[in-house]
């Protein structure tokens, strides 16, 4: 039933580096308009899985994979897939904000310009919408042509979210987006995620279990490259079915 509607569906997906699996035999779905949190200790394969979703791992030496990741029913690793198009549809936000060393405006416009969209009116229109979703419009509307790196860390990270939103992606994947941010900036980003799930599916990798509990609809727990458990967030946090999940949530390891 739900198979047909899943935005992204991993089927027996294994990702390895130099033959060493970082993610093993993964079966996991992401549905439209949901926020899926992925939690787990270090080296559990969270980031590897995330970076497999837009094929960013392809760039790393020694990367191989088996199994499938289906987007709209089609394997994203199949021959002939337009990787640039995939990356526009699966937008990625990194752990540390990486503004390119240009103006705020040029940072935001870059993705669309790469796709050949250069009309000022279209760029401006999308920019206001994207900055609005990232709760950044009011803070930068009067200084779009200032260098992006004068912004604070929290503002930079919201700029990076807005930069991805400019492309109107189907899926937004965030890799520990708040790891270097203060609580107020973190709250703003979590608020943005609530607003964004109206239009996007969201995958949020986080080391912060409290954040997963606050800012997701479902949570998946990864351990040593395997998916241990996935379920509605409230349920996973209060009544985990697996002992390892419980141990992790109780702070026994990780």
């Amino acid at each position: 039933m739900q198979t047909a509607t899943a935005t992204i569906r991993a089927q027996g997906f294994t990702a390895s580096f130099d033959g060493q699996p970082a993610v093993r035999g993964l079966d996991l779905e992401l549905f439209p308009r949901e926020r899926l949190a992925i939690i787990g200790p270090a080296r559990s394969g969270k980031t590897t899985f995330l970076r497999s979703l837009n094929r960013l791992n392809d760039l790393l030496p020694g990367f191989t994979h088996s199994g499938k990741i289906l987007r709209d029913g089609k394997d994203i690793y199949a021959a002939g897939v337009d990787v640039a198009e995939l990356r526009r549809k699966v937008g990625m936000v990194y752990a540390t904000p990486v503004p390119l060393p240009w103006s705020i405006y040029d940072n935001l416009a870059y993705g669309l310009r790469l796709a050949g969209i250069r009309e000022r009116s279209r760029l401006d229109e999308r920019m206001e919408a994207a900055l609005g979703y990232a709760f950044l419009w009011n803070e930068v509307k009067d200084r779009l042509h200032e260098p992006a790196n004068v912004l604070s860390g929290g503002q930079q990270q919201r700029l990076c979210i807005a930069r991805v939103l400019m492309l109107e992606p189907e899926v937004l994947v965030l890799d520990e987006p708040c790891s270097g941010l203060d609580p107020i900036s973190t709250a703003k980003i979590e608020d943005a995620l609530v607003a964004l799930k109206e239009k996007h599916s969201i995958v949020l990798v986080t080391n912060n279990t409290k954040q997963a509990a606050r800012a997701s609809d479902r949570t998946a727990f990864f351990l040593l490259g395997a998916l241990i458990e996935v379920g509605p967030t409230a349920q996973l946090f209060t009544r985990p079915t697996q002992k390892q999940t419980n141990d992790y949530l109780m702070g026994q390891f990780g």
Binding site: N54, L56, L59, P61, A84, E85, R87, R88, G91, M92, Y94, T96, V98, L100, P101, W102, S103, Y110, G111, L114, A115, E146, P147, A148, N149, V150, C160, R163, V164, L167
Partner: protein, 282 residues
């Protein structure tokens, strides 16, 4: 027994004093050389000296053909070497993984950088001037210089490209950029100050090169009218004027013009880089 101790504050004073002295010596040597040449040369640098052709082998007259020849030879050399060098650097750092091929290319470039310029001159004479039939000409000279500065451009460009954070590349690729778009819009744009430094250094080296151009561009005193004409560069003119004892005042004047040209070039490059750096907000 009592250990003889020197207080840390004292050693600190000595260290600072020593470093100031040594830095001062370096600076003094530079200033002395420049001042010596300019004091002897500048009084002879007049408008007619800059705009007229030399007479009686350079004893009288000016150095206009040499100024033109220098800019033609050095400019063309850099115009040829820069695209090749930057493209090689991009290929080495962005399009291949480290392997035997990159190691061989890099080793080759390093060896090339260590070859004395007279050897380049000999090669240019045999290959460009004779085998290709270009003769002693601006073209032979600039192609020879292009080969000579190529390693510098490759290595400085490569270093500048490697200094661009890999996260920039991931962002660009993650936003749907192709590899080429990423290289062109992000990597080269960020590496531009470093790349232009290498190019300016190469231009300076081309302008001041003597041995290689003597064997390839020749030493004709007349104004070069095409790229196939022989031409004498400022550095070579200076060398011949002093070596043959033709006219020391004019030799110093030529050297002054050469030094001022290179100084102006460096200042220009510095100003350009500063402007660029401010524009990208660093």
């Amino acid at each position: 027994m009592k250990m003889p101790t020197i207080s840390p504050a004292f050693t600190q004073r000595i260290a600072v004093g020593l470093m100031w002295t040594l830095t001062g010596i370096t600076f003094a040597v530079l200033v002395f050389i420049l001042a010596f040449i300019l004091v002897h040369g500048l009084p002879h640098v007049t408008w007619t000296f800059l705009t007229q052709a030399p007479r009686s082998m350079g004893r009288e007259g000016g150095i206009f053909p040499m100024i033109l020849g220098t800019f033609l030879v050095a400019g063309l050399a850099v115009l040829v070497a820069a695209p090749i060098g930057v493209a090689t650097a991009v290929y080495l750092s962005e399009y291949t993984r480290e392997g035997r091929l990159t190691a061989v290319i890099r080793f080759g470039a390093d060896c090339l950088a260590g070859v004395p310029s007279i050897i380049f001159g000999l090669f240019g004479f045999v290959f460009f001037a004779i085998t290709l039939g270009l003769g002693l000409s601006v073209l032979s000279g600039s192609l020879t210089l292009a080969l000579m500065v190529l390693p510098t451009i490759i290595r400085t460009s490569e270093e500048a490209i490697r200094a661009v954070p890999s996260s920039y590349r991931e962002v660009s690729l993650g936003l749907g950029g192709t590899r080429w778009q990423t290289v062109f819009y992000v990597v080269l744009r960020s590496a531009l100050p470093g790349i232009s430094t290498g190019i300016v250094l190469s231009l300076g080296r081309s302008i001041s090169e003597t041995a290689a151009v003597m064997l390839t561009a020749g030493s004709a005193l007349r104004l070069p009218r095409s790229l196939f004409d022989s031409s004498r560069t400022l550095a070579l003119h200076f060398y011949l004027l002093s070596r043959e004892g033709i006219s020391m005042p004019n030799a110093y004047a030529t050297a002054s013009v050469l030094i001022i040209a290179i100084l102006a070039l460096n200042l220009l490059a510095y100003a350009l880089m500063r402007r660029f750096a401010i524009k990208v907000g660093r």
